[in-house]
Symmetry: C2
Subunit: 111 residues, 2 copies
């Protein structure tokens, strides 16, 4: 019956909703290096299917994080890049990297 005592900040909630979807963070991470084509992203993240990549890119474009650019060249070329909003996620990635380096242990196979 009682409402939640501690409401979350709606922006924070929205951000989490976006970022904690499977693959989203890794796609953004890949795009931090620069613009990439559909194929390149798909090929660089194993187990990521074209179907889901397509969905995620649409969501990210809709959210203003990713920009889709069509280059009308010989074979038309489509590139995905980060907007300022997307590049604003860089410090976040650094935090994750830093935290992971400090705390995550990778298990070596025992021979």
């Amino acid at each position: 019956m009682a409402a939640e005592l501690n409401q979350l900040c709606p922006r924070f909630e929205k951000a989490i909703e976006l970022l904690s979807k499977r693959w989203t963070t890794l796609i953004v991470y890949r795009l931090l290096d620069g613009p990439r084509r559909f194929m390149d992203i798909e090929g660089s993240l194993s187990n990521l299917s074209g179907k889901v990549l397509s969905e995620r890119l649409k969501e990210l474009e809709e959210a203003g994080i990713v920009l889709r650019t069509v280059y009308p060249e010989k074979p038309v070329r489509i590139e995905y890049s980060l907007t300022d909003m997307g590049r604003g996620l860089a410090p976040l990635m650094d935090d994750i990297q830093g935290w992971a380096t400090r705390w995550i242990k990778i298990e070596q196979e025992q021979s």
Copy 2:
């Protein structure tokens, strides 16, 4: 046929795998305020089911992020709290909050 050109840091990958699971970040966020009981976490995050909360807490405990403490009181009390590793995620949360405040727009209902 060709292997991926840019391998991800395994620690980074592991961190993302942990943190980008649905609910994980929000559970950790709630625990940043201090220890909480199962019921309290469940009640404070709408749509989070007890089943998944149970799974996530086990994963987080396994990963060393969350500590489960049993207090043998009148009705036994079980509290979940963050370890140092878990508290190490605080800056990340702050970054997300900062990014969200800067970039996320919340749509108001039009009357």
